[in-house]
């Protein structure tokens, strides 16, 4: 059974996402420590609220390093709302420094008619991605936020997956390889949202990293987070040959 780890760092309810993933046939692990990611096939970082306190809570629970490693290995990842924003370098909301995995900052929506942007809005895709397979082009998703990431740098266009308008358009979905983020809440977006989460479970099921388990996790020498994930990282590096470079980028941005 495909195992999805959902990070719990005290930011928002996990009941609906847990249920939505189970409905898609996944086994759900609520991850409260970095070690809880062991053996997972997919990782979801949900969350609403401010970036600064969220980063502090992730750090306190030893989750920052494991999340970074996971993303550097290009393993199936989905950031929802704040979880997507954290992938970028920092947030204008409180000036906090976030994971810095993707280039760009999280900024307040400019010239929005009203903030927060609350409600169902359409998502205009600029390219296809397995997450959106089978979902109609004009589908509505539920948003509740005042800020959104603004990708910058050479990768900006390549990682942008979709736009949504609230006043001017903002980036509402990003993806680089198997690492994706959505500004809306699929777990609150009715049948289209459930479908997107089911697509994510499929991506995780197809992840080659899943087959490596449970060797690394059960290695008696790998008792700490770094050891367990490090073993997998080494495996991933030899597999893709580029995880190390990504990790160096992430490290320099933090």
């Amino acid at each position: 059974m495909t195992r999805i780890a959902v990070v719990d760092y005290g930011a928002g309810n996990l009941v609906s996402i847990d249920q939505a993933l189970r409905a898609a046939g996944a086994e759900v692990v609520i991850a409260r420590r970095g070690t809880d990611l062991r053996g997972a096939d997919g990782l979801i970082v949900p969350g609403v609220g401010a970036a600064g306190p969220a980063m502090a809570r992730l750090a306190r629970r030893d989750l920052v390093g494991p999340i970074r490693d996971w993303v550097a290995e290009d393993r199936p990842f989905l950031g929802i709302c704040l979880g997507m924003q954290l992938l970028f370098e920092g947030s204008d909301e409180d000036g906090s420094v976030t994971l810095g995995i993707l280039a760009g900052r999280t900024v307040r929506l400019q010239d929005a008619p009203r903030l927060p942007h609350i409600g169902w809005n359409t998502v205009r895709r600029t390219r296809e991605h397995p997450l959106f397979t089978g979902i109609a082009a004009g589908a509505f998703f539920y948003f509740v936020h005042s800020l959104a990431p603004r990708p910058t740098g050479v990768e900006a266009a390549a990682i942008t997956l979709a736009w949504t308008d609230h006043g001017p358009e903002f980036v509402s979905a990003v993806a680089r390889g198997r690492v994706a983020g959505v500004q809306f809440h699929p777990e609150r977006s009715g049948s289209d949202g459930l479908q997107l989460l089911a697509r994510f479970v499929e991506l995780a099921a197809a992840d080659p990293g899943a087959a490596e388990d449970p060797g690394a996790a059960q290695d008696p020498g790998a008792t700490d987070d770094a050891g367990a994930v490090g073993g997998r990282r080494a495996a991933a590096r030899s597999r893709t040959g580029r995880a190390g470079a990504d990790r160096a980028v992430a490290g320099s941005a933090a």
């Binding site: 309810n13 009941v15 927060p116 809005n121 009715g190």
Partner: protein, 267 residues
């Protein structure tokens, strides 16, 4: 484009959905999660549970209801009634609610709005504001715009607060949304108080949810077009099946308002 939200409100007492007029003559209407799921299927953009349980010991049951609902209805859920502290709000959110609506507790302790917004984010804090038109003093023909007073306890208790000033204050404190109910219109079926809605919507940057007085689809259109509301909420009009959520959305779409149409709702 952001759709106008249509929100059914379910009054919950002792674990059951009830309906009645002004908290009296309550009639059992069914299981809250079951009704919430039905509304979600019919196109509800959000669900609001208003806990009107009289006794404090009955309140624990609401958390169970919230959790069962969050497992069945994949639309946002707001819970109002009975939340008076940050930790009570935490419990309701943890059970699966996305937002909590504060009413009497906010009037009693305005700082609660600030503390809840700081802990959970403004997007999780709705302030419900019940307003009643002030009777103009005899002989007043100044032609000034009408004034509204904030009332609590289902409209039974005046507070002396000016509704517009209160709306601005709670937004400053961190409310991410306002649920504005006209107590004059509530339960009367004479339409929303669009002047009240407009007076508040023009003065706050956050979304305003219109409530109180809806009788037919045209009233919902007016709340948005004339009142400036971002969302519309109603209870009895939906429960008594006088109009469906799809009827309301069809009227809005015909009036050129953006709505989210749900294919299943047509079936």
């Amino acid at each position: 484009m952001l759709a106008v939200r249509v929100i059914p409100c379910l009054d919950v007492a002792d674990g059951r959905v009830v309906k009645g007029t002004r908290f009296v003559d309550l009639v059992d209407e069914g299981d809250p999660p079951e009704l919430a799921e039905r509304y979600a299927r019919e196109g509800a953009d959000e669900i609001v549970f208003l806990d009107i349980t009289a006794a404090p010991e009955g309140r624990g049951t609401l958390r169970g209801i919230v959790e069962r609902t969050a497992r069945r209805a994949f639309v946002p859920l707001t819970v109002g009634g009975g939340v008076r502290t940050v930790s009570e709000m935490r419990d309701v959110l943890r059970a699966g609610a996305d937002k909590v609506s504060l009413n009497t507790a906010a009037v009693a302790t305005p700082d609660l709005v600030r503390r809840c917004a700081r802990r959970f984010g403004s997007q999780a804090v709705v302030v419900a504001l019940d307003a009643r038109r002030r009777t103009p003093s005899p002989g007043d023909s100044s032609g000034e715009s009408p004034a509204w007073e904030v009332v609590v306890k289902g409209g039974r208790e005046p507070t002396g607060l000016d509704a517009i000033a209160w709306a601005q204050r709670v937004v400053d404190l961190g409310a991410g949304e306002l649920l504005v109910t006209s107590i004059d219109r509530d339960g009367t079926g004479s339409g929303f108080d669009t002047a009240l809605l407009r007076a508040i919507a023009d003065r706050v940057p956050v979304p305003v949810i219109a409530s109180g007085g809806a009788a037919g689809p045209a009233d919902f259109v007016a709340a948005v077009r004339d009142g400036g509301a971002s969302a519309v909420l109603a209870a009895s009009i939906f429960h008594r099946r006088r109009h469906s959520i799809a009827d309301v959305k069809a009227a809005m779409a015909a009036a050129g308002l953006p709505v989210r149409l749900v294919p299943e709702a047509a079936a």
